[in-house]
Symmetry: C2
Subunit: 115 residues, 2 copies
DNA sequence: TATCCTCCCTTGTGTCACAAGGGTAAGGGG
DNA sequence: CCCCTTACCCTTGTGACACAAGGGAGGATA
């Protein structure tokens, strides 16, 4: 928990990236725009966070990358989900939801005793 | 995101500790039991995580501590919310919920385009 | 007496978000 | 034609932190 911000990025970044790529290849810049847009600008993704994350995911075998040309006619590296990456997302997303829900419930408890 | 686990602890630990103390003073061991119980054992709190966190929160002025004797007649350090700690929780909890909800929505999107 | 449980803590170690830096090249306005 | 903005890529500190693995003391139970 940073001083004024909620550090939910850390637990969710990899999942959000995998999700962004679930509709097809995208370049880094596009991914960061998608995340910002899809979370109503609540999660702002620094470039120094995004690119290391992409490389990490690639290293783990969940992504592959390929140079290409963007819609704006610019050189861009397109990331694509691997089969393992797709499986990873399918496995982790429900876990994320379960955990988040459990915490949400705990944070709203009315009494110390089990509900 | 650890290899097989969801790292939601990082974003939520401080908030959960503040919540645990919202009903009155508690010692560290009791807090860890409460968190484990309140999250259906989804969040397991290592001692090497808990105690540094308590000291951190105390350093930031959200907690105070005092040695006492536990229900089991053992020496224990009781932590108590300060006014600042209570305010902190009131301010941060809604933020946590908003962020978590935004991410949950993003992870469930049916299409790339804004919903 | 031995063992378990309750309670407290510290010191590596590795991971990671972020700030701050740097670079290339396209397109458009003057 | 030059400049500025925008769109893209990246790296290197640095600090924060979760965790594993260690250690210790004292009560309770058998």
């Amino acid at each position: 928990m940073a001083d004024t911000e909620i550090d939910l990025l850390r637990s969710s970044l990899d999942l959000l990236v995998l999700k962004a790529l679930s509709w097809g290849p995208m370049h880094g810049y596009g991914i960061s725009e998608w995340i910002e847009d899809a979370t109503s600008s609540l999660l702002l993704l620094e470039e120094g966070t995004l690119y290391p994350a992409l490389h990490r995911l690639e290293r783990r075998g969940w992504l592959t990358s390929e140079w290409g040309v963007s819609d704006n006619n610019r050189r861009a590296k397109f990331y694509r989900l691997t089969t393992a990456g797709r499986a990873r997302f399918r496995a982790q997303a429900p876990l994320w939801h379960r955990h988040a829900e459990a915490i949400a419930v705990a944070l709203r408890r009315r009494s110390v005793q089990p509900s």
